[in-house]
Amino acid sequence: MKLSSARRLLLALALTTAAAAPALAADWSKLRIGVEGAYPPFSEVGPDGKLKGFDIDIAYALCTQMKAQCTLVQQDFDGMIPALQARKFDAIIASMSITPERQQSVNFSDKYYSTPARLVAKSGSKLQTTPEGLKGRKIGVQRSTIHDRYATDMFKGAEIVRYTKQDEVFLDLAAGRIDATLVDSVAADVGFLKTPAGKGFGFVGPTYTDVKYFGIGAGVAIRKSDTDLQAKFNEALKAIRANGTYKKIEAKYFDFDVYGDALSK
């Protein structure tokens, strides 16, 4: 049939749109996973441009267990949940804590690790987290994290400075632009305190455990409608915990138990 050029264009567009939509619905044999790539040792990008880290290895292990072909999609942390909702990927494995606030928007698998949050500041700093102690101080956090939420609500009196990446927080902490940062203790240890830039800095104050803010651990975030995928992830998680894959990956990065019963990001 002879279509006008305008109609032909519309038809082409419609066909392309239909063709481009992958038939993922019930299958889950191909998965896209959102990861961050800027949160050592959990995820980072090496000089060769490849993603590496605990989160990355867990993601691949889970996919192997689920017999799914996975593509990792890098995304800034503050855009993770919107991107998941917008279907840029099907799951988030980015050290995202299971919190009541987030559970309003997404579902989570069971936790895959749990480490506490602490303040990092210059060693010997007498930073008090009372309103008087915080007056005029600057606390840096990564935007949209549980640390952001906690600091905003609880550290009244301090100026909360928000960054897109935790790397940037550490850069400014080392430069003295902020007085402290509230961050996951393991990420701080490996990503900052053990590096040359972190000399002279240390943990200050208590470990933070308020479940309302810090949740019960990091989990895989999934859209609320994909309950079957959530079940698959939980099965796979149990399996890799049981068959030793988890322990192997854990040993690669940590010399302590990171599955723990404390809290994470």
């Binding site: 419609a14 749109t17 239909a18 481009a20 939509a21 992958p22 038939a23 993922l24 619905a25 790539g37 800027a38 050592p40 980072e44 990008v45 000089p47 060769d48 441009g49 999609v73 890098q74 995304q75 800034d76 855009g79 919107p82 991107a83 909702q85 917008a86 279907r87 840029k88 897109t164 990446k165 790397d167 940037e168 850069l171 080392a174 590096t195 040359p196 830039a197």
Partner: protein, 229 residues
Amino acid sequence: MLHGYGASLLEGLAVTLGVALASLAVACALGLAGAAAKLSRRPLLAGAAGVYTTLIRGVPDLVLMLLVFYGGQVFVNHLAQGFGSDGYVDIDPFIAGVLTIGFIFGAYLTETFRGAFLAVSAGQREAGLAFGMSRWQVLRRITAPQMLRHALPSLSNNWLVLVKSTAIVSLIGLNDMMQKAQQAAGTTREPFVFYAAAALLYLLITSVSELGFGWLDRRSARHLVRPRS
């Protein structure tokens, strides 16, 4: 000196150039369409083109890019669902970046092409029509080649601004040169080195572009007598 991240920076350079060239293509297409709309005798078309150019020039690139990247995905999904498909068409950072930058510079190029079109003397068009050429033939053989010559200075300016705008695409996560520099800076804790390297690479692109456009300019005006400057 670059701690092994040099190759990664060059990969980023390739991505940056890719985004810039793809955006230029989109922008030229939109610019020509926009110029045609603005020059047309239908007030609706001219009005729509006017709204387009005003909106784009009134909102910063970063805001538009964030809107397209975060909001655009939702919009496209709704659209796809309307067509009855699964409800997902990927808008990765490359596409979001190219569409946004192309869209933005389409507005600027609308003005460029409109001005260039008006600069071709009407007599040329009249003569073509008098010879019995169809309107399309006049456009293709007479107006368009001359229009390109007039458009060159403004086109080259816009190209330079476009190349620099691609740096903003790094802020929505595209693995271009800026993003690579950021990753390297974050890991090595030596931001100055990597941002300076990125700056030099951008300077290289702009310098080569200026030389290229200079050559094009001289070539396209070979037939003219230029005053000795």
